[in-house]
């Protein structure tokens, strides 16, 4: 097992005001599995989140780029969960 830190942005802060999650995941955990773990964590900590699609409408990113769902999480110093965007 390894510890993964995920920074949260935008609407996720409504559910996790600190904007950070720390999760224990399998060594070979991929992006898809991590998103499922985040969903479980958010549902267990915030009943409002039950049934929300926000995690699955979001993408995970490393410090420099967006990761594909089928990628494995290697040695990312920090990960970020990016919900739908609204700049401009």
């Amino acid at each position: 097992m390894k510890t993964v830190k995920v920074k949260l942005f935008g609407g996720f802060k409504k559910f996790i005001p600190s904007g950070y999650l720390e999760l224990q995941v399998q060594e070979n955990c991929g992006v898809n599995l991590l998103k499922a773990e985040i969903q479980k964590h958010l549902e267990s900590h915030s009943p409002e989140f039950l049934g929300s699609q926000l995690v699955f409408d979001s993408v995970l990113a490393s410090d420099v780029e967006i990761l594909n769902d089928n990628e494995s999480i290697v040695e990312c110093a920090s990960l970020a969960l990016l919900p739908p965007v609204c700049g401009g």
Binding site: K7, F9, G10, G11, K13, K14, D57, S58, V59, A61, D63, V64, E65, I66, L67, N68, D69, A80, L82, P83, P84, V85, C86, G87, G88
Partner: protein, 162 residues
């Protein structure tokens, strides 16, 4: 080769400073787009907004967008983009996009392309603060995984956040 400068900042965008950016002598067109915070959205009275961004990915994404625009319409364009983050009151500028090019058509196209793509692809989020005291994160556009940001594909010079 294009000259591209992208920054995200918590400080006010200085409209006079952006507007006075000089064009190169071979550039006959300067087109500038400013976005401002409106006092109303979807029927609700807005008093302020808060922008949040993932700075590193945001700057790289916008640099990529600017490089695409330059490649499409004016490889020698000068492009300046500034996006605010933090809390902004109604009437404050949230974004500035300046393009100087040889002729007007490409400068219009470049600024239009950049603002539309920023709305779709830049990791920026907006929380609205309403007159009645409520707040809401504005629903936006889901990011695409296949649009990878490759910093090495950028053309021209780029600067990071300031």
């Amino acid at each position: 080769m294009a000259n591209i400068s992208v920054s995200v900042t918590p400080h006010n965008i200085n409209i006079e400073e952006v507007s006075s950016t000089a064009a190169a002598k071979e550039h006959g067109a300067v087109n500038i787009f400013f976005g401002f915070v409106r006092n109303r959205n979807l029927g609700r009275d807005v008093v302020a907004v808060e922008y949040e961004c993932h700075s590193e990915v945001c700057v790289r994404t916008i640099e990529q967008i600017a490089a695409e625009a330059s490649h499409k319409w004016a490889p020698d364009a000068n492009i300046l983009i500034i996006h605010r983050y933090g809390r902004l009151l109604v009437g404050e500028a949230s974004v500035a996009i300046l393009a100087t090019t040889g002729h007007r058509d490409e400068s219009y196209k470049i600024t239009r392309y950049i603002i539309e793509e920023i709305k779709l692809r830049a990791p920026i989020w907006k929380k609205e603060f309403y007159l009645d005291g409520e707040t809401e994160w504005v629903k936006g556009h889901a990011l695409c995984q296949h649009k990878r940001v490759n910093h090495n594909e950028n053309s021209g010079n780029s600067s990071g956040g300031r």
